[in-house]
């Protein structure tokens, strides 16, 4: 008996369906949509904010009038960025069961980490509201720039996710190193301080401080960090009520696109082997 051959879906439509299904599965598996899950979204960034607040204002005697808000504008995007990259290190091994049992577009796997952590990021953005009210910072129409900043963040994060996915599979011993590099990337950014604040003021009391050529090199390193531009862009929109500087968006975007192109190419060249490597 002959039967019609089922339509085998391929291309962008199938990839989109698979991305949606795997993202929903990852969110469900994490059980994030529970009361404790939502609390986690809110409490974790708050805890980090308090820790860094104490470190900077009490220990280093820095900070400023609206330092909590300044800090949160960097912590929220950074936690998303670092959370996705940490998750991507395990995304291939973590999906080994379906990799060895199902044929599906493997290229979507790193993007599922972006999607599954997006609810936590979006919910945590709500924390900005109470802090803005506390410091008397009124939202302006410039907040319409925020979605564009989030898109640039997503491109930069996707680039890291593709690189992280391959690194995590072939060099699992490097996972701790990557976590430490992420932490270093935050400290070597404008996450905790404004560049001009650090290098214009003298050393905090009791510290030796950096002066001269060395400090200029460090300042350049912080400016070269694409996260710095992103943090400054969020602050421009949220705290200062002005559009972000073009360079603060274009540099992280260009950096992200280059790394994404390289990372995705390496990933694509290896993806046919994933089912055999897990």
């Amino acid at each position: 008996m002959s039967r019609p051959i089922a339509e085998v879906r391929s291309g962008a439509g199938r990839a989109r369906d698979v991305l949606g299904a795997l993202t929903r599965a990852a969110v469900r598996e994490e059980r994030d949509f529970t009361v404790t899950g939502f609390l986690k979204f809110v409490i974790e960034p708050l805890v980090f904010m308090v820790v860094y607040f104490i470190l900077v204002t009490v220990v280093l005697r820095r900070g400023g009038r609206d330092y909590l808000l300044f800090l949160l504008c960097a912590l929220l995007p950074f936690r998303y960025f670092s959370g996705v990259i940490s998750g991507s290190l395990n995304v291939i091994q973590g999906n080994s069961t379906i990799l060895v049992n199902r044929s599906f577009p493997r290229s979507v796997l790193p993007l599922t980490v972006l999607g599954s952590q997006a609810p936590a990021f979006l919910v945590s953005l709500l924390l900005l509201g109470p802090l803005m009210a506390y410091y008397g910072v009124a939202p302006t129409v410039q907040i319409v720039w925020l979605p564009l900043v989030v898109v640039v963040l997503a491109v930069l994060t996707a680039a890291g996710a593709y690189v992280g996915a391959v690194l995590g599979l072939y060099f699992p011993d490097l996972k701790t190193l990557v976590q430490n590099l992420l932490r270093a990337a935050f400290f070597l950014s404008t996450g905790l301080f404004r560049v001009r604040t650090v290098f214009a003021q003298g050393p905090p009391s009791g510290g030796s401080g950096r002066t001269g050529e060395g400090s200029e090199q460090l300042a350049n390193l912080i400016r070269a960090n694409p996260l710095s531009g992103l943090f400054d862009a969020v602050r421009a929109v949220i705290i200062n009520g002005r559009p972000p500087k073009a360079i603060d968006l274009l540099y992280p975007l260009a950096f992200g696109l280059v790394v994404l192109a390289v990372g995705a190419a390496v990933y694509r060249s290896r993806e046919s082997q994933f089912a055999k490597e897990v």
């Binding site: 008996m1 002959s2 039967r3 051959i5 089922a6 339509e7 085998v8 879906r9 199938r14 369906d17 698979v18 949606g20 299904a21 795997l22 929903r24 599965a25 469900r28 598996e29 069961t97 379906i98 990799l99 060895v100 049992n101 199902r102 044929s103 599906f104 046919s272 089912a275 055999k276 490597e277």
Partner: protein
């Protein structure tokens, strides 16, 4: 005759990590050593639409690797593989089910991964759940399921996913008698409707009544291909009857779903 599967000189290569037997050696400090080997090689054959083909061979002969190649899970490292239509693989007892998801959630995920739309998967969900007959556990995560319950759900998803080709390993043998009979009936309906089946087993006797053709694998290569009545006896002459037959009843494995009822 229209071909469902066409393999030409297909080879699948693996890299297996190796460790020395003596603690920390220099090679281990420099990184994991890997040895390359071919899981299957120089595999060439066609399977026509509607054919029911048994892959036979001892453990490690490449049956599961070949099933994964047919299912497009492995891409050939050499040669060409063409498959026409949708393949539903059922290769392990877990069958690609995610342990942290419920039965319902796994149906949705598996349906989309098998190539269905989300809407079509949701339309089929109730039918799949009824066929698997584990309704009390559909809202529970898969990790609390027994092996038999996972096999039930995995089989139910595979046969209801509108496949053209079923790629089966002998995983369904873990289910109970009632479900195996129901599955055998469903499998025969699929075959009668013109569906293509590729099934792997090292228990030749259990495949003889189901298959119209045997492909025998040894060390990753096809060494025999033809009528079950000819290929089967030649295989058994070299490897003997399945050891399970001689095992005491308590240790004997259950026959797979495709075995004739009187043989179970």
């Amino acid at each position: 005759m229209e071909q469902a599967i066409r393999l030409r000189d297909v080879g699948i290569r693996f890299r297996v990590p190796r460790r020395g037997r003596r603690g920390l050696g220099i090679p281990r400090l420099l990184g994991r050593r890997r040895t390359k080997f071919w899981g299957i090689r120089h595999v060439t054959f066609d399977i026509a639409r509607g054919e029911v083909v048994g892959l036979i061979g001892p453990n490690g002969s490449g049956k599961s690797t070949l099933l994964r190649t047919v299912s497009a899970i492995y891409r050939p490292d050499e040669g060409e593989s063409e498959v026409s239509g949708r393949v539903a693989p059922l290769l392990t007892a877990g069958a690609g089910l995610s342990p942290g998801l419920t039965g319902w959630e796994n149906i949705e995920l598996s349906g989309v991964l098998l190539g269905l739309t989300r809407r079509r998967t949701n339309e089929l969900a109730q039918t799949i759940a009824e066929f698997a007959d584990i309704r009390d556990f559909m809202d529970a995560p898969i990790r609390v399921y027994s092996a038999g319950m996972k096999a039930r759900l995995g089989f139910a998803i595979a046969v209801h996913a509108d496949p053209d080709i079923l790629a089966l390993d002998e995983v369904i043998s873990v289910a109970d008698e009632e479900f195996r009979e129901r599955s055998a009936q469903r499998l025969r309906e699929f075959i009668d409707s013109g569906g293509t089946v590729v099934v792997a087993s090292h228990e030749v006797e259990s495949l003889t009544d189901l298959c119209r053709r045997f492909v025998r694998l040894e060390h990753g290569e096809v060494v025999d291909d033809g009528e079950p009545g000819e290929v089967g006896p030649r295989y058994l002459a070299e490897h003997g009857a399945t050891r399970d037959r001689d095992a005491p009843p308590a240790r004997r494995r259950r026959a797979p779903v495709w075995a004739p009822i009187e043989d179970r």
